[in-house]
């Protein structure tokens, strides 16, 4: 029974499935002196792309084989202020074209060496919360009993703009779902599905290949 427990934990904790779709609209490739900037969309009224997810994808693209130079989002947005704020950021490539006609914007872009601009848009939704866990504290000690579970669903789109040609060169979509469980028998044992982390890893890897033209 003791030997089966780690296996059970691994099985329960790894209940995440991730799907990645790529739609290529143009040729890609990047030189060693060029860089990529990853930005989160924040213009929607009821959600915004988390900065932590944007950072995670960026970090993933800077590691491993064919690592890319990625400009941190905050550094870029602050340096380009006020042109990439939620209300002023370009929503389409023709908005970027208009923006690049501003000498201060074009100069800053050239200074950063930005070749590709990646717009991440999405969020993680939690649904299907079931079960209850009750905890009690008494003179003899404390303990919890019960079972809880929920489902997380991460949906993110990455639109890749080529700053050199001012064209949308492709879109990569990722959808990850996973069930998390918290059984409690005296001590609660959280078995959390790493849904957003898996979406970040898969999207980061796919984006790296896409930008490198593979």
């Amino acid at each position: 029974m003791k030997a089966l427990l780690p296996l059970l934990v691994v099985l329960l904790a790894s209940c995440t499935s991730t799907t990645v779709d790529e739609f290529r609209q143009g040729a890609t490739g990047i030189n060693s002196d060029e860089s990529v900037v990853i930005l989160g969309r924040r213009h929607s009224s009821d959600y915004e792309t988390r900065a932590e997810f944007v950072d995670c994808v960026g970090e993933r693209m800077t590691t491993g084989n064919d690592a890319l130079s990625v400009i941190p989002e905050k550094q870029f947005v602050d340096a380009m202020f006020p042109w990439f704020e939620p209300r002023t950021a370009p929503l389409r490539t023709r908005d970027l074209e208009r923006l690049m006609s501003e000498p201060v914007v074009a100069d800053k872009m050239a200074e950063f060496g930005v070749r590709y601009m990646v717009w991440l848009d999405g969020f993680t939704e939690t649904s299907g919360r079931t079960g209850t866990i009750s905890c009690t504290v008494g003179p003899g000690g404390a303990g919890c009993f019960g079972f809880g579970s929920w489902e997380d669903d991460s949906t993110f789109d990455a639109r890749v703009w080529d700053v050199a040609s001012l064209q949308n060169v492709g879109t990569i979509s990722t959808d990850a779902t996973g069930q998390s469980y918290v059984p409690a028998l005296v001590i609660p044992i959280p078995l959390i599905a790493r849904v957003e982390a898996n979406a970040c890893i898969r999207l980061g890897d796919q984006l790296k290949q896409f930008v490198n033209g593979e």
Partner: protein
């Protein structure tokens, strides 16, 4: 040194009462953030800016559904810090003065007087949305160097921040307000020269 059971019980009771009262009291949030300098073309003007006392000491109180004070949000100094970062990037020279009279005495090209008209806060437990939201409405006045009005217009700004499990309400309100202040800075710096009265005045110089 010895303590009676009664004195220990009294001290314990006082501590618990103080803790309960503190947890029921208003939460004071002083907005703090850093604001980048805008990348915009400078106007060749010498500007005097008047931060009056209502702006400097501006604070907003959010009441709970029972009418008790819930959050006291002080954003006056943060607004001053924001304009101090934005105005020098928009104008050739900026000088800060205490009153309109002082500004008129300086012989500058123009005077700018910002004021906060209204502040609104939306909390997740009231809106049932997973975001903290802040709206701010400003009244902005632009005058000639001798105090004659050029333009008087309203600008609104908006900021939001998502709820997160390990983030306190105070921190989320601060972040939403900082986003709203950045929104003000971006709209103000990009739209200032497009305000019809300002545009006409600039063209006439």
């Amino acid at each position: 040194m010895s303590y009676s059971i009664q004195s220990i019980a009294k001290a314990l009771c006082a501590s618990v009462c103080a803790l309960v009262l503190a947890s029921c009291g208003v939460s004071k949030v002083v907005i703090e953030g850093s604001y980048p300098t805008p990348n915009v073309a400078k106007l060749p003007l010498t500007l005097a800016v008047v931060y009056d006392e209502p702006l400097r000491s501006f604070s907003y109180i959010e009441y709970s559904e029972t009418g008790a004070e819930e959050f006291n949000i002080a954003s006056g100094e943060s607004h001053v810090a924001l304009f101090d970062a934005v105005l020098p990037a928009m104008f050739q020279s900026v000088v800060q003065v205490a009153s309109l009279e002082d500004a008129e005495a300086l012989g500058v090209d123009a005077i700018f007087v910002p004021a906060i008209d209204e502040f609104q806060l939306a909390l997740p437990y009231k809106t049932k949305l997973d975001v903290y939201e802040v709206w701010i409405r400003y009244n902005l006045r632009f005058l000639t160097g001798d105090g004659a009005p050029i333009a008087d217009w309203v600008l609104t700004s908006y900021g939001k921040t998502p709820t997160e499990s390990m983030r306190t309400a105070d921190s989320a309100i601060n972040d939403a307000a900082v986003v709203a202040l950045r929104d003000l800075a971006s709209s103000f710096s990009l739209s200032f020269a497009q305000v019809p009265e300002v545009r006409d005045w600039l063209a006439s110089r």
